[in-house]
Amino acid sequence: MKPDPPTNTAAPARFLDYDKSLACIHCGLCLSSCPTYLETGNENDSPRGRIYLMRAVQDGRLALGQTAVRHVDLCLGCRACEAVCPSGVQYGELLESTRDHIERHHERSPWQQFLRRWLIEKVFPYPERMDLALMPARWVKQFGMERLLPTFARDALSLIPDETTSAPLPAMVKAGGESRGRVGFVSGCVMSVMFAETNASTMRLIHRAGFDVVTPPGQGCCGALFAHGGNLEEARAAARRNIAVFEQAQVDTIVINAAGCGSMLKEYGHLLRDDPAWAERARRFSSKVRDLTEWLAAVGEPIVRGTNCSAKVTYHDACHLAHAQPIEKAPRTLVRAVAGETFVELPESNVCCGSAGSYNLTEPEMAARLQQRKTDNILKTGAKTVVTTNPGCLLQMRAGLKKSGAHDVEVVHIADYLDREARRANDD
């Protein structure tokens, strides 16, 4: 219960954009939007509390000790607070600066070091490495050896889908008739290894809408895994690479089907704002980025309306789509167009499922609590299909439903859902 021995007593060098942190006037309207606060009821685990802690560390009122780091670590980075903040506090940016500061000045346990610096930063962002890393996990699952593992490892394993598809995408697909434009597709790292089928669905949807699709081969991780883990330098390097690759591809629009990556791509302009050689190029890149759903809704998705399926369908808001971008209407419009009367709203649809990028690896306990909360809410609706827009949410909700024995509820990516229903309609 004693406060930590101070590890850093003097006020540290400026790491927070102080004026941005002052935009928080402590009104507290963010509290009930915060998933971790909903779970713990502790003001330290709320957005207002965390900003207070960040400011206290910056002012030298509080040492950067275990406690402050604990509460910042526990933040999902879901940015639900930003969506409801009347003062327009850019919480995501404050969080990233603070995390960057923590990683530079705070000593972590060897296990957390391994997770953060190796697994999350050196494996996940690289599809080939990820594919290799998944091999032993697949064997363990195949031979049913999970029960030999400790709980946290079992939880992590439960997220890996039983069947993953990975297949290279064609670099270019021409539109059928006259082309309506040239779209660049970001294939993503997790998406391309675990969800190649979803990428294929996405390309079919873009193609069906009458556009040429280019998937430039040199692209890499969007940088989100680095930025969220507090490694802004690596994130900038990732951004520069992608900007150069997509400039070469000469596309009108850049479409992405993973909400987490999409919000990062849209922030390149901010990420590289202080780099004179790249600031303008980054801004231009970001202005072309569209989430698949916002793009489809804007170009007029030619999917046949209505299905003859009577099972209920619901929609889960991926945090990085609903809060960070913020896009809530477009995906609902698309799903409703297909599901019609069978669409039901999901209670707390905008409360994070606990996946939050690599959060379920670094904070397994809170991730599991939020997973359970999400599962309970899904089961309340009676829906048999849950549609969402982000790979992390897909894995997390599937694992949660499986744990609860709800084997008849499917969780599908919106691209797969729309593509499947369109093909079904064409078959009829």
């Binding site: 406060p3 930590d4 006037i25």
Partner: protein, 412 residues
């Protein structure tokens, strides 16, 4: 025993005893974690509590209170900490009891139109739980998306719709309270009882008493039927005087709007920057006038209101075209205080009521104060019931501004 005005000492033994009641994860005792509990939305004064506990049940609250009574320690009940009046400041330290883990809607009795909720339940969650049945919980403080029912009881909260529907005390049928010695009592109507209570009517005792008489743990609230229809108008005026006169005339004509709110130029500009609703940036004041009731009655009333506004030289009167525009208009109003962050890092507000007829005079006085002390004072308030909220803007990093903010606050 701790003498008054001296900070209470929380011993390690006391912390251990509290842990035994609510569990270690329900006790916050390190200085570095207590920091965030040193103030609520009123940030001008700060006091660190000695310890914060997060109980999960009435029994735990009662045990904590009993322990504090035995050791003569001050207790401070706290909800979400959205109050602007510093009601949850731990002025002499002590044990802060945060009810944020007791946040459930326990029962809804649709036939009798009442709901039993825990004190830490967020105000807006009550309406969310019952709106599918055409009911709602009427008191709607601007912080309703975050503030708790327990806090509403403690401060007898009002809101924009107070004009027609009344404040918290008009919607609380009864409540469970832990008295300062740890005894648990129920005051007012019980969840299974009739609305009239025999014996003394003590229901009013704790409502608006800022937690002085005990810790409210469960509340039986009244639910009312949602109006069949709404008509929400936006009146744009050149001056605050004209807008104030229109307010008096609307009430004088015998119309009781659901809400009648005013925003002056400065706050309108901040709100527009935040939400891009389409407010005119050069208007002296805008009025939000909401009529509700039977659909058939609203057109005539709306026409009457438009005429009164025009008579008071309104530049423009717009009617929200659909539910979405109405919701957006209210979002702007309800989050106006928060939008202050776009104008200034800190503010303090006063919450006073004057007779409606004195509104123009009072608004001119506030304007003079603003000039005299050199501080900006935007106004957004419940004009219909003459309830003013002058927002005094300052920067806490400048001691002179803090001094002037306090002085002008006193004058007002």
């Amino acid at each position: 025993m701790t003498p008054p005005h001296e900070t209470a000492v929380i011993t390690p033994a006391m912390v251990a005893a509290l842990c035994a009641i609510v569990g270690t994860d329900g006790v916050i005792a390190g200085d570095d974690e207590l920091l965030v509990y040193e103030c609520d939305a009123y940030t001008l004064e700060k006091h660190l509590p000695g310890v914060v506990v997060l109980p999960r049940s009435t029994e735990e609250v009662a045990a904590v209170v009993k322990l504090c009574a035995e050791h003569h320690l001050p207790i401070i009940p706290r909800g979400a900490g959205t109050s602007l009046s510093g009601t949850v400041l731990a002025v002499t330290g002590g044990v802060m009891i945060a009810l944020t883990r007791m946040n459930r809607v326990l029962e809804v009795d649709y036939r009798n139109r009442r709901a039993l909720v825990e004190a830490g339940c967020v105000n807006a969650w009550v309406t969310n739980a019952v709106k599918s049945q055409g009911l709602f919980y009427a008191p709607d403080p601007s912080s309703q998306s975050a503030c708790t029912i327990g806090g509403n009881v403690g401060t007898n909260s009002g809101g924009p719709h107070t004009l027609k529907y009344g404040v918290t005390t008009n919607h609380v049928l009864g409540y469970e309270m832990v008295l300062p010695d740890g005894e648990v009592v129920w005051l007012g109507t019980t969840p299974d009882g009739g609305e009239d209570v025999d014996g003394y009517d003590l229901r009013g005792a704790a409502i608006g008493s800022e937690g002085m008489f005990g810790v409210v743990t469960r509340v039986l609230v009244r639910l009312i039927r949602a109006p069949q229809a709404f008509k929400t108008l936006l009146g744009v005026f050149e001056t605050v005087d004209d807008a104030s006169q229109a307010v008096s005339d609307i009430i004088g004509a015998g119309i009781v709007p659901g809400a009648l709110e005013m925003m002056d130029q400065l706050i309108t500009q901040a709100v527009e920057a935040a939400y891009h609703f389409g407010f005119p940036l050069d208007a002296g004041a805008v009025l939000i006038i909401e009529l509700d009731g039977l659909a058939a009655s609203l057109d005539k009333q709306a026409a009457q209101v438009v005429e009164i506004c025009r008579k008071n030289r309104a530049r423009d009167v717009r009617i929200a075209k659909d539910d979405q525009e109405r919701a957006e208009l209210w979002k702007c109003r309800k989050r106006a205080f928060g939008a202050i962050g776009r104008l200034s890092p800190n503010f303090i507000t006063q919450d006073g009521v004057v007779p409606r007829s004195k509104l123009p005079e009072m608004m001119r006085f506030i304007q003079r104060c603003s000039e005299e002390y050199g501080l900006r004072i935007p106004n957004v308030f419940h004009a219909g019931d003459g309830n003013l909220h002058p927002l005094i803007l300052y920067d806490e990093r400048d001691p002179d501004q803090v001094r002037r903010a306090l002085a002008v606050s006193d004058d007002i």
